[in-house]
């Protein structure tokens, strides 16, 4: 489904701040696989996601989805194949527009937008169907402005928007990190349910070791721009959060000590 070949990017090349954010990454993700990506700050998690989404262009390597090479495609063109959820609940939605208008915009991602009315009975029905899967009552608030929703409700709406139509790939960029723990759990559970239901190939960046093992079917650890761990199946099932943290610490050495609290 997703194939990444020899992907690399260097920031501030030729200056004192030169930083090899990603170095020769090779990765193959099967259809409907749910991959979680962990790593410390600066390991290259977000860079990898930005390269997949098209917000940055790589210095070297190729990115393919379904054997279509999209290494040089701009963000809007890739959006037909892949959707993205952001960490900041304000980025993924239009605050000043209603829920149904946001859904209409998102449904234009995989289907052509025309000069006919965007909000039809068909769209409304589809929106009600999808929103009721959230069990948050949003399907009764189609004409409410999104600005009136809580952070958790917005991310839940963004999740519905990101999984509409013929979306094949979903990129999650710490999409629950800005939420309170209760809301984060609700959004994570919804993510698992909806992604599973539609069989969408998912790449999720997270800071939480627990989340990384609890969700999805495969876990990748990045360190200094390289993949240092790639576990799935029985290996992954037998790995505990403690073991993962230990592996992480061995790699990070002394520099990790400040992060210990975060990883618990």
């Amino acid at each position: 489904m997703i194939r990444v070949e020899n992907l690399g990017i260097i920031f501030n090349r030729g200056t004192a701040l030169e930083n090899r954010a990603l170095h020769d990454i090779n990765l193959s993700i099967a259809a409907a696989e749910f991959v979680t990506v962990i790593g410390s700050n600066g390991a290259g998690k977000s860079t990898l996601l930005n390269l997949l989404a098209g917000e940055m262009s790589p210095g070297s390597g190729r990115i393919l989805i379904d054997d279509i090479e999209l290494t040089t495609w701009p963000v809007y063109r890739r959006s037909r194949l892949l959707a993205r959820m952001f960490q900041d609940p304000r980025v993924g939605i239009c605050e000043d527009m209603s829920i149904i208008e946001n859904i209409a915009i998102a449904s234009g991602r995989t289907a052509p937008r025309g000069f006919h009315f965007a909000i039809t009975n068909e769209l409304r029905q589809m929106a009600v169907d999808r929103l009721s899967m959230l069990n948050l009552g949003l399907e009764k608030r189609l004409h409410d402005r999104v600005a009136l929703l809580s952070g958790g409700q917005r991310q839940a709406l963004a999740l519905v928007m990101a999984t509409l139509g013929s979306t094949k790939v979903l990129l999650l960029d710490e999409h629950t990190a800005a939420l309170d723990p209760a809301a984060a759990e609700v959004v994570m559970d919804l993510t698992r349910t909806i992604v599973g239901k539609f069989g969408i190939t998912t790449v999720m960046v997270t800071h939480s070791m627990r989340q990384a093992l609890e969700f999805g079917s495969r876990t990748i650890m990045l360190h200094h721009g390289q993949i240092i761990l790639d576990i799935s199946g029985a290996d992954r099932a037998s790995t505990s959060v403690d073991q993962l943290v230990k592996m992480f610490q061995r790699k990070e050495g002394a520099e990790i000590s400040d992060d210990n609290l975060l990883l618990a």
Binding site: P74, Y76, E95
Partner: protein, 298 residues
């Protein structure tokens, strides 16, 4: 205020309501402060006047003027998107260039249209007194334009334009080409502005190269003043607020200038406008500051 002054304010307000609708598209929908209108308004007047004195039918001349106006919008979009020039500066550059272009088009600083057959003439022939003919036609044009803008913003394409202005990153992530939306939005807005210029020149009886001065402030007065008086989140209410804002602005101006007690003359128009716009800009600020104070007390 005399009836004559009131009619004058009403028809000018209606003519500029088209500029206000354009400014709504750029300032509010696209979040692109477009100053091109200072040049595209007289451009519409110049093109229509030149075509009319060259023997074109008034309606044909007016429609061509509107189309030429959208080209001015495309020019600004090009400067902003391809040459990466700051949006405000891109509009100023186009507007200043248009001053010379307008002089070229007309061949002289102004063209008189008195005694020509204008778009208003058929209405006078219908027996509508010539004093009211412009109001009748302009009302029809403004209502049609407003409804078309409302309908457009309700389509999939229109929603995409709103998203491009409100949240460009989200728009792109949803497959919307933000640059293309800016091109089309600026084209529409400047087409409306040039249409307004063409209709205004025929009402006035002349096209003048300097008639664009201050158009942007008038448009802002209409959009900001109208939406401050009628706050809403619904598109068709907002476009209505812009149209009414344009008319109310002219009436407020006429009242201020006609009141002997205040002692203002026609030369004070600009300072009165600036004060009105400043007040309109301040009202929403004051409202939210008041809201903050109240929540701080809780």
């Amino acid at each position: 205020m005399s009836l004559y002054a009131f009619i004058g304010a009403l028809e000018t307000g209606l003519a500029f309501a088209l500029v206000a609708l354009g400014a709504y598209l750029t300032f509010r929908v696209l979040d692109f402060p477009d100053l091109t209108v200072e040049g595209s308004f007289p451009l519409g007047a110049a093109v229509a006047a030149k075509l009319m004195v060259s023997g074109f039918d008034a309606w044909t001349a007016t429609l061509i003027a509107a189309l030429v106006g959208s080209l001015a919008g495309f020019a600004t979009a090009f400067l902003n998107l391809k040459l990466r020039i700051l949006h405000i500066l891109a509009g100023i550059l186009t507007a200043i260039a248009l001053y010379s272009v307008n002089l070229r088009i007309m061949g002289r600083p102004n063209i008189g249209l008195i005694n020509m057959t204008t778009v208003y003439t058929p209405f006078e022939r219908l027996g509508i007194p010539s004093l009211y003919a412009p109001i009748v036609l302009l009302t029809i044009v403004v209502v049609v334009a407003k409804i078309l803008v409302d309908l457009f913003l309700g389509t999939g394409f229109g929603l995409a334009m709103r998203a491009a202005g409100a949240n460009p990153r989200m728009a792109q992530a949803n497959g919307i080409q933000v640059g293309r939306m800016i091109v089309i939005g600026l084209g529409m807005a400047n087409g409306l502005t040039a249409l307004s210029g063409a209709l205004f020149a025929q009402m006035l009886g002349a096209a003048d190269v300097s008639m664009g001065i201050g158009v942007i402030v008038v448009a802002l007065a209409a959009v900001i003043g109208g939406t401050a008086l009628m706050p809403s989140r619904i598109v068709y209410m907002l476009t209505l607020a812009c149209v009414l804002g344009s008319i109310l602005y002219r009436i407020a101006l006429a009242l201020a200038l006609s009141s002997d007690a205040i002692g203002l003359t026609a030369s004070d128009v600009n300072v009165v406008t600036a004060v009105l716009v400043a007040i309109a800009l301040w009202v929403p600020v004051r409202r939210s500051a008041f809201g903050r104070q109240r929540s701080a007390l809780k």
